[in-house]
């Protein structure tokens, strides 16, 4: 009986050791796993803030092209219909409120970042275009059709050259010019994404791409149609139609993943235009006041109402002199306040040229330029 009791005691002892050991091991395992997850998340946020910093700095200088290493997890961009835009690495997300135009996911080779100025005619903002060589763009045009070939020439002449290091291409905007007659023979190459840019030509799905996922945009005189096709669909399907406001906005549509991202970026830029034109108009009013109301004789009439001499805080857009530079700026402010779908694109274009001429005239009159 005594032996049996000792044997049972021994068994319980070992069971206790096993259970306690297992508990301690489980504690350390769960702790290590948690720490690993936290570490990964911290790393994602660090990379995310580094990318954010690079994007912010890239956006400051217009007309530049540079590259950043793409995180191994990939760099994803998205915009909702309500313009809640964000970029993310795995689960780490950061919102952005800038005109950034990018494919849905950048993965693999270095990311190509191109910053282009949007001028009206003064700089309003810089558009940031992102891509990488794993995404292939096809510029489809008709050499026999003048609007198509002209726009194609204009589009391709501004594209920055590939970025090289030790004579090797690090990254580039990977595009190919394809005429409408060559489209039927176009072979499917091994790229992660394919995007067709139909320049003033009808949308056609290349025969060999009927079982390939692809996206496309069709550019005509005033609007851009966003299209896409899955493996199951043999033809492109229309997703969205938006208006374009010049060559920089066409580039925006080429790089944007969909109509929502394009619209959000362009509307942000229009908001900037609305504020900047208002600031320039008020500034011109101040210049007029300082030169015309205090100096005799001479002075610069820029179009502010004469009552500005009595009221320095006068809103110059309330009653500007017709045909003046201030009136043009105020009109630009009003037009740019409208949403993209109701935008007077021709009016904006006319004002851009008029402002440029008026500003040069001011220099000839020895007046401070407005921009």
């Amino acid at each position: 009986m005594a032996i049996n009791k000792k044997a049972v005691e021994m068994q319980f002892h070992w069971i206790f050791i096993i259970v306690a050991g297992a508990l301690i091991l489980a504690f350390f395992f769960s702790f290590a796993l948690k720490q690993r997850a936290v570490g990964q998340e911290r790393l994602q946020y660090t990379v995310l803030s580094q990318v954010d910093d690079i994007l912010a700095k890239s956006q400051i200088k217009g007309g530049t092209a540079q590259h950043i290493p793409t995180p191994s997890q990939g760099l994803a961009f998205s915009c909702t219909q309500g313009c809640d835009c964000a970029f993310q690495i795995d689960n780490a997300q950061r919102p952005f409120n800038q005109p950034i135009f990018s494919p849905e996911l950048l993965r693999g080779q270095d990311t190509f970042i191109w910053s282009a100025e949007w001028k009206q005619p003064y700089r309003v903002t810089n558009f940031l275009f992102l891509t990488n060589p794993d995404i292939k763009y096809y510029f489809v045009y008709d050499p026999q059709n003048s609007p198509s070939s002209t726009l194609h020439r204009e589009l391709t002449k501004n594209i920055p050259p590939p970025i090289t290091q030790n004579k090797e291409i690090v990254t580039q905007f990977n595009y190919q010019n394809v005429t409408v007659s060559e489209l039927s023979n176009l072979e499917v190459e091994d790229y992660s994404q394919h995007k067709f840019v139909f320049i003033n030509v009808p949308t056609t799905t290349p025969a060999k791409f009927d079982k390939t996922e692809a996206s496309a945009i069709n550019i005509d005189q005033s609007k851009i149609t966003f299209l896409s096709k899955t493996r199951r669909l043999s033809n492109f399907q229309e997703n969205d139609i938006q208006r374009h406001i010049g060559i920089t906005s066409i580039y925006a549509a080429i790089f944007a993943q969909d109509g929502a991202m394009y619209r959000c970026g362009i509307e942000h830029a229009l908001g900037k235009l609305s504020t900047t034109s208002k600031i320039l108009a008020q500034r011109a009013g101040q210049i007029q006041r300082e030169t015309l109301c205090t100096e005799t004789p001479g002075g610069c009439i820029l179009g502010a109402p004469i009552t500005i001499c009595q009221n320095p805080n006068l809103d110059v857009c309330q009653n500007p002199i017709q045909g003046s530079i201030i009136e043009s700026l105020c009109q630009q402010h009003t037009i740019a306040s409208a949403p993209l779908s109701q935008l007077d694109v021709n009016g904006l274009d006319l004002l851009k040229n008029r402002l440029d001429t008026e500003n040069r005239k001011l220099l000839q009159q020895s007046c401070p330029e407005v921009f």
């Binding site: 919102p95 005619p121 900037k272 208002k278 600031i279 101040q286």
Partner: protein
């Protein structure tokens, strides 16, 4: 008696084990917290510098001559108009995604002048505050002269 001694022995081992465990955990978490704090300060510093850069390159504020932009330069007339606009709630909200919770001030140093608050959005509760200062030029378009100044960015968290 022997059983009691054994029990005390086990309890003593457990106490020592847990003391060591808690000491280790405390040490680990303290070092982690200071590392996270350091990272946070670095990120805040970077953000403050980013804001200063952003502000200096805003077309709403920059010095441009026939569409050519001058680096690190602020137009005094634009600054006046823009700061007035940013004192309105609607414009302040419009620029919130760009500048967040921060205060941006511009002070002429030589010749000296009064400080202009460009943007001010201070949260109700401020846990930490980081300042970044950068030298700039302030351009007077009327006299075609420059003065030296400082742009001060306060970032709140």
């Amino acid at each position: 008696m022997r059983g009691q001694i054994k029990m005390f022995e086990t309890i003593a081992v457990l106490i020592v084990f847990f003391i060591l465990l808690f000491a280790g955990i405390t040490f680990y978490f303290t070092s982690q917290t200071s590392a996270v704090q350091k990272e946070r300060t670095e990120a805040q510093n970077q953000y403050a510098y980013q804001l200063a850069l952003r502000a200096l390159n805003l077309p709403e504020l920059d010095c441009s001559f026939l569409v050519t932009q001058r680096d690190n330069c602020v137009d005094a007339f634009k600054l006046n108009v823009f700061s007035t606009l940013l004192s309105e709630q609607q414009t302040l909200e419009q620029y919130f995604p760009e500048f967040g919770y921060s205060t941006i001030k511009i002070t002429p140093i030589f010749p000296s002048g009064s400080t202009k608050i460009l943007y001010d959005n201070t949260p109700l509760e401020v846990n930490s505050n980081l300042t970044n200062k950068n030298p700039i030029l302030i351009y007077n378009p009327l006299l075609d002269t420059y003065s030296f100044g400082v742009i001060e960015v306060n970032v709140y968290a």
